[in-house]
């Protein structure tokens, strides 16, 4: 029983790490974006913010589209193999 639980925990470990990283980055970017987004109010580009923003955007797309589907795929496979 404990080995089954351990294998489920292993499936959820990577998504959990990705989610924590995403939430930390989102909070950081949210705090830094008070005076400007990917472009400053004057219309110029702040390279550091743009890199952070694009990294977060990529991670957000992964978290919204790929992560839930991939996690569901692995859980269903595991359920089928244990049935």
């Amino acid at each position: 029983m404990s080995s089954v639980l351990r294998s489920y925990a292993l499936v959820l470990r990577t998504p959990a790490i990705v989610m924590v990283c995403y939430l930390l980055l989102h909070t950081l970017f949210g705090s830094l974006s008070e005076d400007g987004g990917l472009v400053t109010p004057e219309g110029s580009v702040s390279i550091g913010i743009v890199i952070l923003g694009l990294l977060l955007l990529g991670l957000r797309l992964a978290v919204v589209f790929l992560l839930p589907a991939h996690t569901a795929y692995r859980i269903v496979r595991m359920l089928l193999s244990h049935s």
């Binding site: 949210g30 974006s33 400007g36 839930p68």
Partner: protein, 378 residues
């Protein structure tokens, strides 16, 4: 058995990918459609905080002030968004009218229109009201000032007088134009900017009781006859004011913003523009976006459209939220809001919400578009 083990997980994964992202990104769409006061106040507070920081910076230094085209639009859209909230919730007037009035007055400052003065070789829009040059860019500020005058009983008379004179000049220039267009820059007219001119004139009529019916009817007729591309339903982005010749393609970004502005002036023209705009919606997995170029036209992104990715533009998509909400295109609103939420990456803290990727101008635009409706002409 092997097939079941292979396909069942794939099927579940595909179902999750199809169902979950629209649910996650669209969870606030209905609340914005219904005019949820909590969501509206959170975004409004973000713009108020921005305006207060801008006031402090403006008093501290005469150099490096937030000025120019982006600043003009940021203050204008903040004023319009807050004004729309006051029209929707009259009990909020006490809280928001002083701030929207300040934002509108800032949009009228000379440093905000420097870009236009330079383009007209040093001719200032407010110092050349007897002239024939269009200076249509200043209609953005004129519209904000009009909405401020509508709601602020203590609006400064000196600015109101200059606003009256500007509106009179716009009315005379527009009536003299056979195409219903006046120049923004020398030799370049933007139907979107002229829609803002019409909006400013219409709101001035609401404020003063002066009838501007003749000029608004003149403009609305030319929008249909000259400025809309019949094949696509989109307005041509840039034209010659006197010739009416296209200088650019029919485009989604210009049409989306024109539909919002036209709503202040003439409901039927705004609906016509909105109908053309939503023919160009692309959908994917429950997300919606507006294609920038009409079929048969191609181009890259520019300052009007923002980035154009897979044919859809950031600006056209954001602008479409306003006519979608104002004219009850609920399905389109929901799909487009999901896209806005996904790429806008909203972040809430300290009683405020901001869409982090767009900065203050993005937040000001979204406040105006996500609350559009109460400003539309009857």
């Amino acid at each position: 058995m092997n097939l079941r083990r292979l396909f069942l997980p794939l099927l579940v994964a595909l179902l999750i990918a199809r169902i979950l992202p629209p649910l996650l990104c669209g969870r606030d769409a209905n609340r914005w459609l219904r005019g949820d006061p909590v969501l509206q106040a959170l975004l409004a507070q973000e713009l108020i905080a921005f305006e207060l920081r801008d006031d402090v910076a403006r008093h501290k230094s005469t150099k490096n002030r937030f000025a120019g085209e982006w600043a003009l639009v940021t203050h204008q859209m903040t004023a319009l968004g807050l004004a729309q909230l006051c029209l929707a919730h009259p009990e909020w007037k006490e809280r928001y009218v002083p701030m929207l009035s300040r934002a509108a007055q800032k949009s009228f400052l000379p440093e905000m229109r420097d870009f236009g003065t330079r383009a007209w070789h040093g001719e200032d829009a407010l110092e050349s009201l007897d002239g024939t040059h269009g200076h249509a860019y200043l209609s953005y500020a004129a519209l904000a000032v009009g909405m401020a005058r509508l709601l602020d009983p203590n609006f400064p008379k000196s600015i109101a007088d200059r606003h009256d004179a500007l509106i009179a000049a716009y009315e005379r220039r527009l009536l003299a134009s056979a195409t219903g267009l006046i120049d923004t820059y020398p030799g370049e007219a933007y139907p979107t900017d002229v829609a803002a001119v019409a909006a400013a004139i219409a709101v001035h009529g609401r404020v003063t009781g002066v009838s501007h019916h003749r000029v608004l009817a003149h403009w609305a007729e030319r929008v249909k006859r000259v400025q809309i591309d019949a094949a696509s339903g989109l307005v041509i982005q840039r034209m010659g004011a006197s010739s009416g010749k296209p200088h650019d393609a029919p485009r989604g970004s210009g049409t989306g913003l024109a539909a919002y502005f036209a709503g202040f002036a003439d409901r039927r023209t705004a609906q016509l523009l909105a109908d053309g705009l939503f023919k160009h919606e692309s959908t994917f997995f429950g997300f919606g976006a507006i294609r920038e170029y009409a079929s048969g036209h191609h181009g890259r992104g520019d300052v009007d459209s923002g980035p154009v990715i897979f044919g859809v533009s950031v600006s056209a998509t954001g602008f479409a939220l306003a006519p979608a909400r104002a004219f009850g295109k609920e399905d389109s609103f929901e799909r487009i809001y999901r896209t806005t939420h996904l790429f806008g990456m909203p972040f809430s803290s300290a009683g405020r919400t901001r869409f982090t990727t767009g900065g203050p101008i993005g937040n000001a635009l979204l406040l105006a578009f996500l609350t559009s409706g109460p400003e539309v002409a009857p």
